[in-house]
């Protein structure tokens, strides 16, 4: 340390190590990433966004939307939901096996925040089968316990389907069906996962707010859609103009207190439409190898509550 060269050289080595680990290695690992296949499906993911949505990403960037919104759903764990799909001939035997949870249940097999909920459900479900199938009989438990119970019920003649679900507050808020992964951002430039949730996470906004008109109204007057929103309005993405011979088809259908004066209408500029197209294109909702869940069209697996 007595001469400048020693400092320079040693600093070069240490800092070069940091560069190799955080620039070179990720580039080698992910720089050539390609589309992956969707779990249990022949489709590939991600699909390139539409032209409008790609332009909308630039509106999102230029206005710094990522200063307040993240695009990364977090997940604590995965659990198994047990769906009873068939009770077979001997309903009572299945019922018995099903009720044996109370005797054998080990609380450590129950994971996530819905523990109490599932116990309550079991407690209230003692009557005969309502006849509606499939029915979720316990959720969420870990895989070991799910398999154990599935075997028991299978032995009694019933059939169990085990569904993988993601768990965590973000999932419970309905922001997504699984945590965000690198694949979600493959075609984005710039990638803007955000770091502050002054507003909700948007990784799945296209899924939980799928209506174009609501998206546009929300951009024009956030409080017309979400009552206590602190989001600033983006009125400059819209035009207030006199209604011509006929109202334009794009005009927003606003509530009275947000509507322009009579004889005027609010029409989105192309930027607003592009931004809305981008927001609608955000729905990271397919299962992948590194973020599995059981994708169901059945409404039983719909997000619990909308934020």
């Amino acid at each position: 340390m007595k001469n400048g060269f020693a400092i320079f050289f040693a600093a070069f080595v240490v800092l070069g190590g940091s560069w190799c680990a955080f620039v070179l290695a990720p580039e080698l690992q992910l720089g050539g990433a390609k589309q992956t296949s969707v779990l249990n499906s022949s489709e590939v993911y991600p699909i390139q966004r539409s032209g409008d949505a790609t332009l909308g990403l630039q509106i999102y960037r230029a206005n710094g939307c990522a200063a307040c919104h993240t695009e990364q759903v977090q997940q604590d764990d995965v659990g198994c939901d047990m769906m009873l799909t068939s009770v077979g001939k001997n309903t009572n035997a299945v019922h018995e096996a099903y009720q044996s949870y109370f005797n054998t249940i080990l609380r450590e097999h129950l994971v996530g925040p819905r523990v109490v909920d599932s116990i309550d459900r079991i407690a209230t479900n003692r009557g005969p089968w309502p006849g509606k199938l499939p029915v979720r009989i316990l959720a969420p438990v870990d895989k070991f316990f799910a398999d154990l119970e599935a075997d028991k019920i299978a032995a009694a003649g019933g059939k169990i389907e085990i569904q993988i679900v993601a768990l965590g507050p973000d999932i419970a808020r309905g922001w997504g069906l699984r945590h965000s992964v690198a694949e979600d951002f493959l075609y984005d430039y710039p990638v803007q996962p955000g770091s502050l949730r002054a507003g909700p996470d948007l990784a799945g906004v296209g899924a939980w707010m799928p209506d174009l008109n609501s998206q546009l109204m929300h951009l024009y007057a956030p409080r017309s859609v979400v009552k206590d929103s602190v989001m600033p309005p983006f009125r400059f993405l819209f035009e207030i103009k006199k209604i011509g011979d006929a109202p334009s088809p794009d005009a927003l259908n606003l509530r009275k207190e947000f509507a322009p004066p009579a004889g005027y209408e609010v029409v989105p500029k192309p930027e607003a439409k592009e931004l809305a197209a981008y927001l609608l294109s955000l729905h990271a909702d397919v299962p992948l190898y590194d973020a599995p869940f059981t994708s169901l069209s059945a409404s039983t697996n719909a997000p619990a509550n909308k934020p």
Binding site: S18, N63, C68, P232, F236
Partner: protein, 480 residues
Amino acid sequence: MTVNENPPTNPTTQEIDFSCRVPLLALFGGGALWLVIGSLLGLIASIKFHAPEFLADCAWLTYGHVQPAADDALLYGFCIPAGLGVALWLFARIGQTPLRGIIVPVVAANLWHLGVLVGLVGIFIGDSTGFAWLEFPRGGSAILFFAYLLLAMWAMMNFTGRRERALCPSHWFLVAALFWFPWIYSTANLLLVAWPVRGVVQVIIAWWFGNNLVFLWTSLVGLGAAFYFLPKFAGRPLQTYYYALFAFWTLLLFGSARGIPAGAPVPAWLPTLSAVNSLLLIVPVIAIAVIGWKTLYGAAGSECKGGPFCMIKFGFVAFVLSGLLQFATSCPHFSRLVQFTWFGAAQTQLQLYGFFTITMFGAIYHILPRIMGFELPFPKLVRVQHWFAILGVVIFVVALAVGGMEQGLKLNDPNVAFADVTKSVLPFLRASTTGLLLMLAANLLFAANLFALTLKWKIALAKTAFAAVTAPLEKPEVEA
């Protein structure tokens, strides 16, 4: 320190100080301007949370424009040029070598401020790159990079040509910082802006860059300055050389290889490696705290009296706190709590303002009278500013740190509606706005002192020039 006893052929301390005058005034003056502009922008951004309609119809002034502009004005506008100015002076002073060819650093300093201007205008017109701490569009970045290279080269030339050959801890920290910025800045700009890499690699590099600039670069420069000034004020050598050596290497090693947040949508080894290094960061932080304690405790040095010594001491404590927060947020449970909350803003402000900016205030207030040869125009305001700055940053950081934890608790409970999460943070945001106001006042006082000083000097220059223009007409005749 006993330079006046040097042989007469050697440059005196005064000559060395005066040689830095013009470049330092250019760096600090522009920096003070950006500091005030940055805190005004930060205030506008903060007000938007109390009144979402505030300036909403101006496309240039949405929160997403103003907040990054405020951050960048503080970091690129003030922190980096101030750090470079202080580094130039420290190299010249410790190495007993006057700065030569000052036209280059003067031009480079002005280029730097031009680059900041171009970058900020770029953000406002929507040309931001979209990467945190790298928002300046390519034109601005190119100017900044070039200006930095010139300044760093001049500092290094002064360093390599130093007459006092012995190296001290400040040198290690400053040389490493000078050298590291061009590396990370070029990497980030080339791989994110010029030839963008694919997918999440972009954001990995952006996070790595952000940590290295906001945390590591400022730590190296701020500590480099503190390790010169603290022993000087305390009247006792740095305690000890070997602690400093240990702190330097561990800080470089653990401080540089981190920055990827836990839970990020990237391969798991990256956040894990980051978290491990953040945990290990406790090692240099403790070493640095020990150095501060051993150097300052019970030292019979000068009292601080709200002057530079107080500021640098406060900055030093803020660094230790900031390092402890970096450690805390790498613990999985705590990081899960405060991720995506205002806690991050509190941490950034603690590092950039509480530690770095206030340390630079102290250093600049110490340097200015020496390079000018006369006292500050409003010496009493220094003390006032000291209190405004400290109170402001403490209020801001405490409010947002507590608010962030509150927000995190509610965000992690899916039974709390999102609107209620946002609402629960508003009182904390109001408190943080108060903090911003106090910091704005401190920054205005700093700028007032600096600009009045510059004006005084320019008037004196003009007087001398006027005298020079009017006087010689008679003299040659007499001599002839």
